[in-house]
Each structure stands twice: as structure tokens, then as C-alpha cells.
């Protein structure tokens, strides 16, 4: 038993150590700073209780970002999962091209968010405009200059980037489905839709849990793509939560308020994702 314990801590210890150092301690510091009037520079820091939190609830910009982020998350969770799952179905059908297609679909995920944002900014403002001028479709012009196009621009960008990643997860789940079940259903005369509905869906449910969690938290936390695609503009109307927090901290020099926002942000994301995982886990089918 003693030997076992040593081995246990040998492997777990470093991870716990690193986790404490990189996650737990900064988190505690962050919570502490959310109760102070620190501006990010000065060494004299005053404790001011819940004042920063009151400030946050009075901040309209924060509320607006919150609503925008929530809308964006709902839209992108739906599109990303539908596209990801469809792609997975497509490339597991035994096509000749399927390996090449997998690589292509996965590729955008390897490009960093900032660069992706700039690429799509070029596509939206320049390529769309050229296309619009050539074909006379005026809805293609002036992208990213208002809230709607900024919103859909972000959703398109995010779906393009993350669908390939979810595809990989769904492929793994799809390939785990025993062929006997499919075969049996064929013999029983089930058509393609019935097979997907009654066999494939229930059996890839654990993958849904993971994918929903990933898309939910990633969409909520989005920063780089937001920064490079719209920069929060026009008039801060496409500013998402992470950017709002960053700006409060580094542009308005309000480190304390920014920390309070970050703590609230942390609690909300934690609450939403944990309950999502709990709910979707409950309906999973054991093999």
C-alpha cells in the first residue's frame, strides 16, 4: 500500500503542483483583487469590499456584452454541432476521398484565432464586396459595419474553425458503434433516418455531452477571433465578455472592476457548463 501511494503521488503530484501554481493561486489572487481598488500599476492597494461588484451591475456595457455573448453562444453551439456531426457522417461513409476530406475539414482548427480573424475580415470586407459589386447583391456589401453582420461574421468564423474539431470527436463515436447493430437494423428493414434516430443518436450521446461542453465554453470565452474580426465594433456592439473584461482592465485601468467581472463570468460559465454536463449525462445509454 505504501509503495502504491508513493507511485500515486509521483504521477499526480507534479500535475497537482502545476495546477495549483497556474490555476488555483491566480484564481485566489483574482478573487482578492476583485475586492480592491487596484489600477494595475500602483503598489498601494485599498480593500473596498463589494463596491466593484456593485459597479459591475450598474455597467450597461457589461450587460450588453453579456446578452450579445449569450446570443452568439446559442447560435454557434447549434451551427457548430450540426455541421460537425454532418461532416462526421459524410466522412464515415467509406468514400474514397474521406481521408483527404477529414484533413481539409480539420485544417482550420490548426490556424490561430487571431490570424483566422484577419483572414475572414479580408473575406467579409474585400471578397464579399467584390462579389457583391460584380453580381449586384447589395447584402454582400459593407459587412462588419453593423451589429448583425458582425454577429453572423463571428458565427461563420467560429463554425468554420470548430466544426472540424467536433467532426473528429463524432467520428470516434460513430466508429465505436458496433456493426452488428447496424446490420441487424438493416435486416429488420429500418431505413437510413430510422437507423440514425434509434441507433446512431443514442449511441453517440456521450460525444454530444463532450461536444456541447466544448462549444459552450469556447464560445463563451471567445476573445482572439472577436478582437481581430470586429474589434468589438461598431460602437462596441459586438464586444463579447472576455473583451469587455480585458478593456476594463487595460484600457480603463480598472483592474478591480475587471476582476469582479471575471469572477462573475467564471461563476456563470461554471454554472452553465456543469449543469449542461449533468443534464446530458443523465440521458446517456450504457452499452
Amino acid at each position: 500500500m505504501k509503495k502504491n501511494r508513493l507511485e500515486f503521488w509521483g504521477f499526480v503530484g507534479p500535475a497537482v503542483f502545476a495546477f495549483t501554481l497556474i490555476v488555483v493561486i491566480p484564481l485566489l489572487f483574482g478573487i482578492y483583487y476583485s475586492f480592491t481598488d487596484w489600477n494595475g500599476i500602483s503598489s498601494n492597494i485599498k480593500f473596498i469590499g463589494f463596491e466593484n461588484y456593485m459597479e459591475v451591475f450598474k455597467d450597461e456595457g457589461f450587460l450588453k456584452s453579456f446578452i450579445f455573448t449569450t446570443k452568439f453562444t446559442i447560435a454557434s453551439v447549434i451551427t457548430i454541432n450540426i455541421i460537425g456531426f454532418s461532416l462526421a457522417l459524410l466522412v464515415t461513409r467509406g468514400l474514397k476521398m474521406s481521408n483527404v476530406l477529414r484533413t481539409i475539414f480539420f485544417m482550420p482548427n490548426l490556424i490561430g484565432g487571431l490570424i483566422l480573424g484577419f483572414i475572414w475580415q479580408f473575406i467579409f470586407t474585400k471578397a464579399f464586396a467584390a462579389l457583391g459589386e460584380a453580381t449586384g447583391h447589395s447584402w454582400l456589401l459593407g459587412w462588419l459595419s453593423n451589429t448583425e453582420t458582425g454577429f453572423w461574421g463571428l458565427v461563420i468564423l467560429m463554425s468554420w474553425q470548430m466544426s472540424g474539431y467536433l467532426m473528429i470527436i463524432y467520428i470516434a463515436a460513430l466508429q465505436n458503434i458496433p456493426q452488428e447493430l447496424i446490420e441487424a437494423s438493416r435486416i429488420d428493414g429500418a431505413n437510413a433516418w430510422q437507423r440514425v434516430k434509434h441507433i446512431v443518436f443514442p449511441l453517440v450521446r456521450p460525444a454530444f455531452t463532450v461536444s456541447l461542453f466544448l462549444t459552450l465554453s469556447n464560445s463563451f470565452k471567445l476573445y482572439d477571433q472577436n478582437l481581430s474580426l470586429t474589434g468589438g465594433g461598431p460602437a462596441n456592439s459586438t464586444q463579447m465578455l472576455a473583451m469587455n473584461i480585458y478593456n476594463t482592465a487595460f484600457k480603463f485601468n480598472n483592474m478591480g472592476v475587471a476582476q469582479a467581472k471575471a469572477v462573475i463570468f467564471f461563476l456563470v460559465i461554471g454554472g452553465i457548463t456543469l449543469s449542461q454536463v449533468y443534464i446530458s449525462k443523465k440521458g446517456e445509454v450504457e452499452m
Partner: protein, 432 residues
């Protein structure tokens, strides 16, 4: 037994890895004076490195390390993290009164330096407190309406005659009526996406006249917005005659700096843009010939000050007072050498391509060569300048409040009256 040895080994390895990561990376070997420079001006990175190398050749006991982080907000955030991480630089940049207050604990008093007596009037005011001077001006910059001389000639407009807002309006209308024969998409390019162009530079025309100088702006608890109407006219003139990507005014919000300067202006598709002498490089990079043939019109605030352009100091050099005497002396000496020695002056003009903020750059080889810098010096010599006061706005107010409101105004989601009210309210709130 073997297993035990392995696990102990794993523990030790993990511990070592994590400790080395936290360990300091100070170089202990050299006995040289290390001067770390943390600066924001990306355009002059190479020139500054060249200057440092020249200085190090003459002063072999000094080692200058230069780190550059790109402009604006990124620099402020990077500087904060630099200080927070304990790797404090010896020389860094601050912007104006707000920065001076924020960083006051870290700033070395520079009032006894030799260059101080050579500074132009007013350039040191933003970094002076209780008669102590905490910053050395980087350079001077100016902006106004940059215009394409060739197009003006073709349209039969004499740029010399444009001295008031009415003159400018007339010229713009005349250009607008001849758009087709001149091959113009429109008269202006108005980058409403860049809130620094609208919220800082454009608004400065009104507020520099309201406050007089940056210190007054910084100390103002309330904003009167005296010249709101004249500012509106100047904004509307630019917005109404600007290139709109989808034909609607709201789409001005997707026009950025590179579309304005590099695409529309440098390709001769618009005749006038509101930009500063820093745009010379962008234009010259695309069309040398055009760059040699551009000039600057005043930014007229109707009925107030109509024939002037805003000229100011964008950033200041500062020295960290927490460093050792040795390092501080070397840092001061380096800056002095760079801006006041003959070699240094040559670098400042011909490599940095700066408009100096210090006197004594009189020799023939020390005159700026690019067209826009020359224009700014001409305005300065004629005394037709107004100060930059936007460094005295509340933190981020200019870009994130006023600039964002201007975007809403351009898109038609906010009236000018609402904008003025909101500007006053947010200013007062920030200064509470």
C-alpha cells in the same frame, strides 16, 4: 524496489522542471551595465537598434537591450505585465498626464538633464508636475487633411486659398461635382472604424480650442463641448462626401486605416483624407510619385480657429527610478546622446525620420525630407498650430465612449444632441 526508484526519480524530475521554470533568467556573467529599453514605436525599431549599436561601440561598458511592442493599448498592457512580472525595464514610454499619474511611483526626475533647455515651448507641460519633469519628448507629429495635389490641379482648385471651413466646403463640393472626370470614387475616405481617428484626432480640434492645453483638459471635471456645432460640421463634411462601401452611411464603420490610406488614397480614388505625417510611409510604399506630391490642408473649426493643424508630442521617454544609479546614468546618457549629439541628430532625422521636439536641428542635412513633415514644419513656423489634448481625456474615453458614439451617429442610431449629452455625462462620470 525498481518501481520505487522510478517514482522518486519522477518526483525529482518534475520538481526540477517546475523550479527551473520559475527561476530567474538574469545574466550573471557580464559586468556590463544593462539598460533594458521597452518602447512602442514599431516603425523605428530598426533605427533604434542601429542607434543602440552605435552607442555601444562608443561605450563598451554599456549593453542596451531593446524590446518593441506595437502601439496604443497593447503597449500599455504589455508595460504593466512587464512591471508586474518583475522584469522592469530601465527606459520606457509614457503618454501624457494620465500615464504620468499612473506611473508616478516609477518615474525618475529628469529636470536637470541638458536637453531640457532645448525643448520647444509647451512640449514638456504634459509630463511636468511640481516643477519636476518626468519625460523626454519622442518627437513631434501633426495631422490635418492630406490632399492629392495633382487632383486639385486638375479640378482647378488652389489649395493655398483654402483657409476657412467655407473654403474647404466649397473645394469639396467642387471636387464632388467633378468626380467622374477625376476618376474619384468620392472626395474623402472616412475611417469610422478607427476610433482613434474620430474619437481622438477629430475631436481634438474642438477640445484643444475648448481647453487650450492638455493639462487643462486633464484637470477638467466637466466637459462644456463649446464647439459641438462646428465639430459636427467638420465630421459631416467628411462623412457625407466619403466613400461608403455599400452606399449607406452606416457602412463607413467598416472602413479602416489601411482602406483609407493604402487603398483609396494611395491609388488616387479619393482626394482628401484626415491623417498625419506617419501616413507618408504607407503612401510612399505604394506610390512614391504620389507621396512626393501631397500636401496638408488645415482642419478648420468654423468660427473658432480655421487655418491651423494640430501638432503635438505622441509619447515620452521615461526612466525607471527603481534601477541602480549606474543604470540610470547610462540611460540618461544614451537618450542625451541620441537627441543632442551630432551623430544622434543625424540618426533622428535621417533614420527615425522624426520631426524633432527639441531645438538645435538647424544644419542643412538635418531637415526632414518627406513632404508631410515639411508641411508640418511650415505650419509650426507660421504659428498655425493647435495642441494635442487627447492624452488628457479620461482613460479610454476618447476611443471607447466618444469614438463609439460617433460610430452610432454615423449609422443613424444616435442624434448629435444625444452624442453631446452622452459625451458630457461619460466625461463627468470618469472624472468623479
Amino acid at each position: 524496489m525498481k518501481k520505487k526508484v522510478f517514482s522518486v526519480f519522477a518526483c525529482v524530475l518534475a520538481l526540477m522542471l517546475s523550479l527551473t521554470a520559475c527561476g530567474s533568467s538574469k545574466d550573471t556573467a557580464s559586468d556590463k551595465v544593462n539598460v533594458d529599453v521597452f518602447q512602442f514605436k514599431v516603425e523605428t525599431k530598426d533605427a533604434l537598434e542601429k542607434a543602440a549599436n552605435m552607442y555601444m561601440e562608443k561605450n563598451p561598458n554599456v549593453k542596451i537591450n531593446i524590446q518593441t511592442v506595437g502601439g496604443g493599448d497593447d503597449y500599455g498592457a504589455a508595460l504593466k505585465s512587464k512591471f508586474a512580472s518583475g522584469e522592469e525595464p530601465a527606459i520606457f514610454n509614457i503618454g501624457g498626464p494620465q500615464d504620468m499619474i499612473d506611473w508616478s511611483e516609477k518615474l525618475e526626475d529628469l529636470s536637470t538633464e541638458t536637453w531640457v533647455s532645448q525643448a520647444y515651448d509647451g512640449t514638456l507641460a504634459p509630463v511636468t508636475k511640481d516643477e519636476k519633469i518626468y519625460g523626454m519628448p519622442f518627437n513631434q507629429e501633426g495631422y490635418g487633411f492630406i490632399y492629392n495635389k495633382e487632383l486639385f490641379k486638375k479640378a482647378g482648385i488652389d489649395p493655398e486659398s483654402i483657409k476657412t471651413f467655407a473654403d474647404l466646403e466649397k473645394a469639396v463640393k467642387s471636387l464632388d461635382s467633378k468626380k467622374e472626370e477625376l476618376g474619384l470614387k468620392s472626395v474623402f475616405a472616412f475611417p469610422a472604424k478607427e476610433t482613434w481617428v474620430t474619437g481622438l484626432h477629430l475631436s481634438n480640434v474642438a477640445f484643444s480650442n475648448e481647453f487650450g492645453n492638455v493639462t487643462n483638459a486633464f484637470n477638467a471635471k466637466e466637459l462644456e463641448f463649446k464647439y459641438a456645432d462646428s465639430l459636427k460640421k467638420l465630421l459631416d463634411l467628411q462623412a457625407d462626401y466619403a466613400y461608403m462601401p455599400d452606399g449607406k452611411k452606416a457602412s463607413l464603420n467598416s472602413v479602416d486605416y489601411s482602406t483609407q490610406v493604402e487603398e483609396l488614397f494611395s491609388l488616387g480614388q479619393v482626394a482628401i483624407i484626415q491623417q498625419g505625417n506617419w501616413a507618408y510611409g504607407s503612401v510612399a510604399g505604394i506610390d512614391e510619385e504620389l507621396a512626393a506630391n501631397i500636401g496638408m490642408l488645415p482642419m478648420p473649426l468654423e468660427g473658432v480657429k480655421e487655418d491651423s493643424i494640430p501638432v503635438g508630442v505622441p509619447m515620452y521617454w521615461s526612466i525607471n527610478n527603481a534601477k541602480s544609479e549606474e543604470i540610470k546614468t547610462a540611460s540618461k546618457d544614451f537618450l542625451n546622446w541620441l537627441y543632442t549629439s551630432d551623430e544622434g541628430k543625424d540618426l533622428v532625422i535621417n533614420e527615425f525620420k522624426f520631426i524633432p521636439a527639441l531645438k538645435g536641428y538647424d544644419a542643412d542635412n538635418l531637415q526632414p525630407k518627406d513632404t508631410l513633415a515639411k508641411e508640418i514644419i511650415r505650419y509650426s513656423n507660421e504659428g498655425k498650430t493647435m495642441p494635442w489634448v487627447f492624452m488628457g481625456y479620461p482613460s479610454a474615453w476618447g476611443m471607447d465612449n466618444l469614438g463609439a458614439d460617433i460610430q452610432q451617429y454615423v449609422a443613424g442610431d444616435m442624434t448629435w444632441e444625444q452624442l453631446v449629452e452622452d459625451a458630457k455625462a461619460t466625461w463627468a462620470k470618469a472624472r468623479k
